[in-house]
């Protein structure tokens, strides 16, 4: 059983043979900030992801075919009632690409979030795919609130 788990973990770290998923992680140990980078090759676009894990905040960058920063959004829970608020920091338009991703990450993790995203406008499917991949990685990093509390 232990060898199977080890093989699974190793396969996640290796570059995928079919070219779809290419995790390129760079961990910094001993308490420093951790930066995770990975790429997802979809049919017609390549999505790049970069996650910087601070202890009280998450910074995430999503790149669509390019390495431009794109629009920058900040999202956090705000008073009253801990509703989630989102604001555009750079970019300045009413374009929603990225802001909804930021908002949903705050809902799921409870942390403050800064998201940079250069996904083009009017691409809801691409935005949804990018958000799903990002959420999967955040879940694997242990960022989601536990839904159930187990009592022993």
């Amino acid at each position: 059983m232990a060898s199977e788990e080890l093989e699974e973990n190793l396969s996640e770290l290796q570059i995928g043979e079919n070219g779809e998923k290419k995790p390129v992680e760079n961990d910094v140990s001993d308490g420093a900030v951790k930066v995770s980078c990975f790429t997802e090759d979809l049919q017609d676009v390549t999505l790049h992801f970069q996650i910087v894990n601070f202890s009280k905040q998450i910074y995430a960058w999503i790149g669509c075919n390019s390495a431009k920063l794109g629009h920058l959004y900040a999202a956090a829970t705000t008073r009253p009632n801990n509703n989630v608020s989102v604001t555009s920091l750079l970019g300045g338009t009413s374009d929603n690409t990225g802001s909804s991703i930021a908002r949903r990450i705050v809902l799921k993790t409870g942390l403050n979030v800064v998201v940079a995203c250069n996904i083009p406008k009017d691409s809801p499917m691409l935005e949804a795919t990018a958000e799903r991949k990002l959420v999967e990685r955040l879940a694997s990093l242990g960022y989601f609130r536990p839904k159930e509390k187990h009592s022993n």
Binding site: N26, V35, H48, F54, Q57, W61, K68, L89, V114
Partner: protein, 129 residues
């Protein structure tokens, strides 16, 4: 000071970065420097979050001397040394021939000039421009 970068990995991620830690006046400071296609991002934190975010850019001017525009886009707007830090770094970027803007985030416990200088030195030592 421990540092890491992704410049030697077999599959090149399009955004290169450096991440390291150092001690500034007793405060552990984590610094991440990223190079995007159209800007540089520098994050320095002592408090576990990004803190104040500033945007600095070089402005096109007719005269030979470059001018710069620095603005706080998130966080403390009454700390002049944060703006001065961004101004120093964008001027350094410009002196190395790059016209890319800088997004700088500073989450610091101590806003003294001495701390700012040490952060600037550390960033310049590990620059990606």
């Amino acid at each position: 000071m421990e540092s890491s970068s992704n410049n030697s990995l077999p599959t090149q991620f399009p955004v290169s970065h450096k991440s390291f830690s150092l001690n500034i006046k007793g405060n552990k400071t984590d610094i991440v420097i990223c190079k995007y296609d159209d800007c540089f991002m520098v994050m320095a934190t002592q408090i576990g979050c990004m803190g104040t975010i500033l945007h600095a850019r070089k402005e096109e001017s007719v005269s030979t001397d470059p001018t710069f525009h620095v603005a706080v886009i998130f966080g403390k707007r009454d700390e002049p040394f944060l703006v001065a830090c961004a101004r120093q770094l964008i001027e350094h970027i410009s002196s190395y021939g790059s016209t890319r803007p800088l997004v700088l985030s500073l989450g610091l416990k101590d806003h003294s000039p001495g701390s700012m200088k040490e952060i600037i030195y550390a960033v310049i030592e590990n620059r990606l421009w």
